[in-house]
């Protein structure tokens, strides 16, 4: 439909270096293959995330109540936790701005980076909720940890299927003002992981 499209592609074909001289290297699994919980927690802490404290007899609800005592709107995106509102009840992306704490389950985490993955499948098609909420609590199983970025991209099918998939590695951060690191810039102010199992 576009003449620019054809013009660009033609120019690229005319100008490119010899493709035979530049073969594609095979995909490789490199780096540390430790997918343990300890490595994940260490990485998470480096990026400013935290593990939600679990005291004797705690449920997720009591742990959240202790960690976020002033929060009024606790939004659940998981079937096994109630909260004060369900994510499906938020009608528009903008309405997620009222949420104090979002509780969501992540299908996998990456030990190398302390990253957790979320897609529209976990966010019930309300992707904005992961960013407009003040705080996010992510339920994660240590069984679902992958070692590093190579294993994540090679083994996890979500990267090929989800329309929206975010790896969050700690909370929103910035160091744009005189190099001062600030956790909790424009997106979530804190990110906590709740271990299940």
């Amino acid at each position: 439909m576009s003449t620019s499209r054809d013009a660009i592609l033609t120019r690229l074909r005319d100008n490119r270096p010899d493709p035979k001289a530049h073969p594609l290297p095979p995909v490789a699994r490199l780096g540390d293959m430790d997918n343990g919980q300890a490595r994940f927690e260490n990485s998470l802490q480096i990026l400013g995330g935290q593990v939600l404290e679990r005291q004797e007899g705690d449920t997720l609800a009591t742990a959240i109540a202790r960690r976020f005592p002033d929060s009024k709107v606790i939004c659940s995106a998981v079937p096994d936790f109630e909260g004060t509102i369900r994510i499906e009840e938020l009608g528009t992306p903008q309405q997620a701005a009222s949420v104090d704490v979002l509780v969501v389950r992540s299908p996998f985490g990456i030990a190398e980076m302390g990253s957790i993955y979320l897609s529209e499948a976990q966010l019930q098609d309300l992707n904005s909720a992961a960013h407009l909420t003040q705080h996010i609590v992510v339920i994660l199983s240590a069984k679902n940890l992958t070692a590093n970025m190579h294993t994540a991209y090679m083994d996890r099918p979500e990267f090929h299927t989800a329309n929206y998939g975010v790896l969050m590695s700690g909370p929103s951060a910035t160091a744009d003002i005189q190099g001062v690191l600030i956790r909790g810039a424009q997106g979530v102010r804190t990110l906590s992981v709740w271990w299940e199992d």
Binding site: L12, H22, I46, Q94
Partner: protein, 468 residues
């Protein structure tokens, strides 16, 4: 209209005179370089990652038309509208039309160097679209009406009081606020309502995956995610060189990007967009703007491998002491100096000379662009295209002639040997006078090496020969 070359030297001189800003700028970026080194030392596979990243990028560039077609087909299948823009003007027109069709009057956007290239804000604003940068550094620059001075940390040349002043003017906050924390909070408070009421969102794209029809955006503030997920319309503006073939290639690049840029293992947000979210529309504008031409430049095409990490800027001793704005271009620092002349040879003819060609940039580049060698080659191209200042060209021409004629050369040196209290005349052309502005001249000596050798070796050798 004859374009004047950017006067980097003059702008850099002004930057250096402001000691407080200059010292912070140098230390801050050097600290990023140190943090980057720290990450490198943790990973024994660092050099292998660089080699792979380079090979994947070179392969992709050599097969770019096929990968672009593959991306386009997959993206369309996923429900993305794909547009092609030959240059900045076409890009702006496309974006303007999409916004108009949706009746969108407010656009929130995350950082995108391509939109800077295209001068998109300048195009959209007179047409009634309010454009708001959501990255903190970029927003500071927008409010201050300046270009980003660094591709990763756009306001790195500013100190807290500068930001406080800008925010006071635009957000009516305390002009004496001296806390970065509190200023960042002001930005959050100011940005939220704009984000919630925006008609459209825009992001760039750090990587484009041909295999899946996806693009990947990396930020630390999460502002790209806000821009993309809150309004019902997402436009992504992406340079055509950003392709990688396979999703599995992303492992290599994500592991290198933030480590090279900021010395952090990964950006806080690494987001994979493969199609529109429910109830939303997604557009990708693929922008050429000179890239297809650059691909044909034998010595310079590998600059298209760049993943915009800014590591070359952080390590560059010249950049750290001159500031990004002194380059007078969208892209500053070493990578800017080899890219900018492809946009305008005359205007940016000075930039490849704003370097000592020390080579540190090449060593830190995660995709192994031979930046300092390209700087050297650009100098040749610019000289051949008569883009060197007249005086410099003449001095070099005369010096070149002199150096080919030993007798004349020796006479020039010896002219000073009589009274070596002054510099030899051939280095005393007016053009060289700035040497003494902040430096002493070399001390006079009694005798040149040449003369010493004649006296102490040739004569003795001759004597030995006579006595034998």
């Amino acid at each position: 209209m004859k374009v004047k070359p950017v006067n980097h030297a003059k702008a850099a001189e002004a930057f250096i005179e402001d000691t407080a800003h200059m010292d912070f700028h140098d230390e801050r970026l050097w600290d990023l370089r140190q943090k980057r080194d720290g990450q490198m030392h943790i990973l024994p596979e660092w050099q292998e990652l660089r080699a792979r990243a380079s090979a994947i990028k070179e392969h992709t560039l050599a097969n770019l038309p096929e990968y672009l077609e593959q991306f386009e087909a997959n993206a369309k299948k996923n429900g993305i509208h794909v547009h092609w823009a030959a240059d900045g003007a076409e890009h702006n027109r496309i974006v303007g039309e999409i916004l108009e069709k949706h009746g969108a009057k407010s656009l929130i956007k995350s950082k995108s160097m391509v939109t800077e290239e295209c001068c998109m804000r300048e195009y959209l604003e007179p047409r009634g679209v309010v454009v708001t940068e959501t990255d903190l550094g970029e927003r500071i620059q927008q409010l201050d009406n300046q270009m980003p001075s660094h591709i990763v940390v756009p306001a790195v040349h500013k100190l807290i009081p500068d930001v406080a002043k800008i925010f006071a003017e635009h957000y009516h906050t305390d002009p004496n606020d001296n806390s970065a924390q509190s200023l960042a909070w002001q930005q959050r408070l100011a940005a939220r309502p704009v984000i919630l009421s925006a008609d459209a969102g825009m992001t760039g794209g750090n990587f484009v995956v041909a295999e899946t029809g996806s693009f990947v955006v990396c930020t630390n503030e999460g502002n790209a995610d806000l821009s993309a997920t809150v309004p019902g319309l997402h436009i992504a503006t992406i340079g055509i060189e950003r392709l990688v073939p396979r999703m599995a290639d992303m492992g290599v690049f994500i592991r290198l990007l933030s480590r090279s840029a900021l010395g952090s293992p990964i950006t806080q947000y690494t987001t994979h967009f493969r199609g529109p979210q429910k109830g939303s529309e997604m557009h990708v504008v693929l922008v050429d703007n000179g890239r297809s031409h650059r691909l044909g430049m034998e010595d310079f095409w590998t600059s298209l491998k760049c993943i915009r990490c800014g590591a070359c800027m952080n390590t560059c001793p010249v950049y750290r002491r001159s500031g990004g704005l002194s380059y007078g271009a969208v892209y500053s620092g070493p990578i800017g100096a080899i890219i900018d002349p492809t946009f305008n040879e005359r205007k940016y003819s000075t930039l490849p000379f704003a370097s000592t060609m020390n080579g540190s940039c090449t060593n830190v580049c995660p995709v192994k662009i031979n930046i300092h060698e390209q700087l050297y080659k650009w100098r040749r191209v610019l000289a051949e295209h008569h883009e060197l200042p007249f005086v410099k060209r003449e001095v070099m021409h005369m010096a070149g002639k002199l150096m080919g004629q030993p007798t004349l050369y020796r006479a020039a040196i010896n002219g000073t040997e009589v009274a070596l209290s002054t510099m030899p005349r051939f280095v005393l052309y007016n053009w060289l006078n700035p040497w003494g502005k902040h430096r002493e001249l070399p001390h006079p000596v009694k005798q040149t090496f040449h003369s010493w050798y004649k006296q102490n070796r040739l004569k003795t050798k001759k004597k030995e020969g006579e006595s034998a």
